[in-house]
Symmetry: C2
Subunit: 349 residues, 2 copies
Amino acid sequence: AADIDLAVIAGDGIGPEVVAEGLKVLEAVTAGSGTKVSSTAYDLGATRWNATGETLPHSVLDELRGHDAILLGAIGDPSVPSGVLERGILLPLRFALDHFVNLRPAKLYPGVESPLAIERVAPDGIDFVVVREGTEGPYVGNGGSLRAGTPHEIATEVSVNTRFGVERVVREAFARAQARPRRHLTLVHKHNVLTHAGHLWRRTVDEVGAEFPDVETAYQHVDAATIFLVTDPGRFDVIVTDNLFGDIITDIAAAIAGGIGLAASGNINPTGESPSMFEPVHGSAPDIAGQGVADPTATILSVAMLLEHLGRTDEAARVEAAVAADLAQRGSAARTTSAIGDAVAARLS
Amino acid sequence: AADIDLAVIAGDGIGPEVVAEGLKVLEAVTAGSGTKVSSTAYDLGATRWNATGETLPHSVLDELRGHDAILLGAIGDPSVPSGVLERGILLPLRFALDHFVNLRPAKLYPGVESPLAIERVAPDGIDFVVVREGTEGPYVGNGGSLRAGTPHEIATEVSVNTRFGVERVVREAFARAQARPRRHLTLVHKHNVLTHAGHLWRRTVDEVGAEFPDVETAYQHVDAATIFLVTDPGRFDVIVTDNLFGDIITDIAAAIAGGIGLAASGNINPTGESPSMFEPVHGSAPDIAGQGVADPTATILSVAMLLEHLGRTDEAARVEAAVAADLAQRGSAARTTSAIGDAVAARLS
Ligand SMILES: CC(C)[C@H](C(=O)O)[C@@H](O)C(=O)O
Ligand SMILES: CC(C)[C@H](C(=O)O)[C@@H](O)C(=O)O
């Protein structure tokens, strides 16, 4: 097998702790395969910003482009004003590397407790994936303030949606739906209020859907979708939605599938023109950082997604199976971050 | 007591059925008080649109302004293209009558089943209220399409937020929080991404908060707020948020508190310059219309909110208590729409 040349952005808070376990599992699953895993660390995040005022220097971005994939821990710290690192690192990475597919699976593994009354609302379990658009919508940063700080202040935020941008993510979502047993795709939007963007999404799903006659489609307004996510999540297979709606519903999805300690994500550029980036959905959790108690499972599952993206399907499946086996017998006893990483790695040896 | 001069928009689907029960309960609770309840019916909705192409004629809007309050059932039917009635009736009513406070309580009444594992995630129950802004944000209709239908299509949606609009709803939310035992207010936004609008909201909460030193405040990004709504809803007391975030989280709130069959709402103009409008959060449910099986509870609770708004606090409390008592012994046996209305009305006689 080809070697793996990773860029690693461990980041802030619990980032370095969970990334270490992700890399441990990556080593374990590739051991003996003849694959050499090399990883280059990039220090982006609160520490760098506090020391130098830098967020994502051009030179770093250029270097990142040269790797096969990026593994990111978490970025964010109370010492940095809200928005600085999000709009200085996380979002620029997604935009510059054109990560138009933000992929977020939601699967309730056996042994994992959901806040839902599962026997009643999802007797057949939860297993869907959200394809969130990653480079458009209200995330484009096209907003402004007029007369800020006065009683006459006006602040605007512009959601920008293009046929090009919507079509490519919708096509990807259909392809993913087609590859799953249920072949069902739900568009989530709010086209009765956001008529222009909403109709663009709807028309695009209708038109691209003609290329995928074997995929059944459904539509839900975002507000109704959140109801079904807590009353009947089993109805979902693949969901495609815009950047902001995707941000919201993937957090609900994570919550109902056992919490953000388990939720993995991929910021994917399916064209291969730039490296894709894999990260846990959770943040840097500064309150528990450095204590060795963070759950690295979301990062380990993100490594599985990374392997899948690199075409190493078998290794991806083995990592996921090892995590599933670990979760199944985890129980409620507290384990350290590295103990969980060790346990998963041990199942792969 | 003063008389009550109501405008009634029964609307489509189950609207007329649930409104009839709301009026029945209103009659029952005011009987013997010397209050005369008069109601004028306005036929707005799908039937009128299908027959005449009219949505909300100016003359009707003018007449509505003359009433003390408006009771609305539900608007919407599959025969009308998505958006026509929302943007032709529901939203114009909120905007023209300046309903800047969209009030949506979420309370889990004893005897009501939640999709959450309540004993585990909310042992002390659910009892909060969302103050959703009703006249700004992404709902203003300031969007457009360029090159629609071509591969170069661009669709935009503009969220417009003003200090005037944010301040008045934030002040109302603080006042409501101050009047509740816990005195806690959570701002929900996404200021790390939607920086201009988000910072306007945040600054306004900070500044108006100085007038309410006894109200504790908190902030949650909308995505994190949805997690807490399903893992720890007991933490919320009053939530204030923008129009779109409010649309989404009030549906989650309704779902966790027993479903939209129970969720009431008020579109309120606290200045009294125009009548406020009360409506169930649910839609017209055309699939069950005309069968007498719709649950009128949300409409009856909306009537309680209407009474509260008109300063008839005691009657409002009695209606809510009657609903609570009915819910507590409702069990799972199916009852007709009118049987539920009769049962609640009987408790008030
Ligand atoms: C940190 C923030 C910018 C980010 C987002 O809003 O996309 C996060 O919530 C996520 O979902 O990855
Ligand atoms: C019908 C629709 C326009 C409306 C909204 O989005 O506000 C509804 O979802 C609501 O919450 O009252």
